[in-house]
């Protein structure tokens, strides 16, 4: 594969105004990884891959989560695409607590990160994980994700499709109840 060996570079998003964008210095020494939302490993051209290293595609993510469970989730979603042919993926952070941590007072640290997938003809569902080293995970329906985060990643799906909870694997300890499904 052409992308087995490649160099890349994290960079601030030049298309955003300076006072609205993260800078490289915000993350230095902050104790968090620059966690990709759209994964580098999904990309098929050098241009697309470079764009995933924009800080507009990053959130401050716990290093242990970013490098283990979240990386495994990304690999699993790629395997779905390889097996099933076509997967729509929406990934994002959520910030639902009254107090938020921030990097240098500029970049907010999300409480959770989530990823929703829709496979045409198969179904849809999502994962949500707490942004910490001993991350708590839950597999949930698109409807439940929307209720928790306020984001509807796939507005065109029927209510029935949105209510189904897929039997996805968890990539960390389950949240609260034993099943980790909602």
């Amino acid at each position: 594969m052409a992308f087995d060996y490649r160099d890349n570079r994290f960079h601030p998003e030049a298309r955003l105004p300076r006072d609205e964008r993260a800078e490289l210095a915000d993350y230095v020494g902050g104790g968090f990884d620059r966690g990709h939302m759209a994964p580098s490993g999904d990309m098929t051209t050098p241009e697309n891959d470079f764009e995933t290293f924009s800080l507009a595609n990053m959130v401050p993510q716990d290093g242990a989560l970013n490098r283990s469970g979240w990386a495994s989730l990304e690999q699993y979603v790629r395997s779905l695409a390889i097996t099933l042919g076509s997967v729509f993926v929406v990934t994002g952070p959520s910030y639902e607590t009254r107090k938020l941590r921030s990097l240098r007072g500029r970049v907010l640290v999300p409480r959770h990160v989530w990823k929703a997938v829709y496979v045409p003809g198969q179904g849809a569902g999502a994962w949500i994980a707490t942004n910490e080293a001993r991350s708590r995970w839950r597999v949930l329906s698109v409807a439940a994700l929307t209720a928790r985060t306020g984001v509807d990643p796939f507005p065109a799906l029927s209510a029935e499709e949105k209510r189904r909870v897929p039997r996805f694997p968890l990539f960390g300890e389950p949240e609260d109840d034993r099943s980790g499904r909602q």
């Binding site: 230095v28 020494g29 938020l100 941590r101």
Partner: protein, 82 residues
């Protein structure tokens, strides 16, 4: 290939493993299968090349016993939407 410890922004991939550069630490993550074939040889060669560069960089300077990596706890602010 990235130059170890030169900056806080370069990154690279060695097959399925990712490497992020930093002035205080280089982080390798993921896992790497070295198969007993030409692909495995290429991966092993890239890995050795990078490990050699790490050693060369670390051996040229007087090192502290342990470097301070984090600049302290992140600031806490009120969530304007909660």
């Amino acid at each position: 290939m990235i130059e170890p410890f030169a900056d806080d922004e370069t990154a690279m991939t060695i097959a399925s493993m990712s490497v992020e550069n930093g002035k205080t630490a280089v982080v390798l993550s993921g896992n790497l299968t070295i198969s007993r074939d030409r692909e495995g040889l290429e991966a092993a060669r890239r890995l050795k090349e990078f490990a050699d560069a790490l050693l060369a960089a670390l051996q040229t300077e007087a090192l502290p016993d342990r470097i301070e990596r984090n600049g302290g706890d992140p600031r806490t602010i009120d969530n304007p939407f909660a």
